[in-house]
């Protein structure tokens, strides 16, 4: 009955969701970061990629953020000739970040984090109740 492995798995899950939340924060903070000069590209939305890998120390498969990749969808275009980085037609390229999608992602990350936390809690409870047997 090895509860430490269970808790290690859930802790890795929490860490992964924390990384995901960090990337969401990055995206939201840079939702309006345009390019500095007319030729450059603005901020590209980042995306996390999860994978289930063997963790040698714990000896079990834990989930890990293997890559923080970029979202390859198109940039948004806004018509604003007075902007310093407007191109010849007067369009400014804005980042491909949608705040609705990011806040939904944030809620998902929070929900998954709480789920992992409750699994750790129940494993801890099972362990402590077993130890309490010694008391009576």
């Amino acid at each position: 009955m090895d509860f430490s492995a269970t808790m290690a798995i859930s802790a890795a899950g929490m860490r992964a969701q924390g990384d995901r939340l960090r990337v969401v924060a990055e995206n939201l903070a840079n939702a309006n970061t345009t390019a500095e000069t007319p030729g450059d590209l603005p901020y590209r939305r980042k995306v996390v990629i999860f994978q289930n890998l063997l963790d040698r120390e714990a000896g079990v498969d834990t989930v890990r953020v293997t890559k923080v990749d970029v979202d390859k969808s198109n940039f948004q275009r806004k018509f604003d000739p007075s902007h310093p980085s407007a191109d010849a037609d007067g369009y400014v390229l804005l980042p491909n970040v949608s705040s609705v999608i990011e806040s939904m992602d944030m809620r998902e990350a929070q929900r998954a984090y709480e789920a992992n936390l409750s699994v750790i809690d129940s494993a801890r409870q099972m362990m402590s109740r077993t130890v309490e047997l010694l008391r009576s």
Binding site: M1, D2, F3, A5, T6, M7, I9, S10, A12, G13, A16, Q17, R20, I49, F50, Q51, N52, V60, D61, T62, V63, E108, R111, A112, A115, N116, S118, V119, I120, S122, A123, Q125, M126, R129, T130, L133, S136
Partner: protein
């Protein structure tokens, strides 16, 4: 007197081991809530009948080093079973339903608590039997 040799105790410890392992499998499922192409696992249910048959099963005797162990499952291991018909699968291949996993986790904890209480009762009974020595 070895407590672990008593039939009831053996069964209860076996069930508690099963529940501990099941909790690990559930933790694995919950941690992989967003991993693409991940299908949730679960252990085959622990029934009294299966535990009895497993306890009575005789493993083939390996008298020579070259003898194979055989493909019949060892009675002491819990077998993983994959859910063949998941409730829903997301477009990226992930089939973990959080509510189901939370329910299983709560079930496991409640079962474990039940087993612990039964174990306590058994030990109290034995202790009473030992204590009552006088006329």
């Amino acid at each position: 007197m070895d407590l672990s040799k008593l039939g009831v105790m053996k069964l209860m410890t076996r069930k508690m081991d099963y529940l501990g392992e099941r909790q690990q499998v559930i933790a694995q499922n919950v941690a992989n809530l967003n991993t693409p192409d991940y299908k949730p696992n679960d252990l085959k249910p622990f029934t009294f009948r299966r535990a009895l048959t497993d306890a009575r099963r005789l493993a083939p005797d390996a008298t020579d080093a070259a003898h194979l162990a055989g493909t019949v499952a060892d009675g002491t291991k819990n077998q993983k079973a994959r859910d063949r018909r998941p409730y829903e699968t997301t477009p990226d291949g992930n089939a973990v339903v959080l509510e189901q996993q939370m329910l299983k986790s709560a079930e496991t904890t409640a079962d474990y608590q039940t087993m612990l209480n039964l174990y306590k009762k058994q030990v109290t009974m034995i202790r009473t039997a030992i204590r009552t020595g006088g006329g």
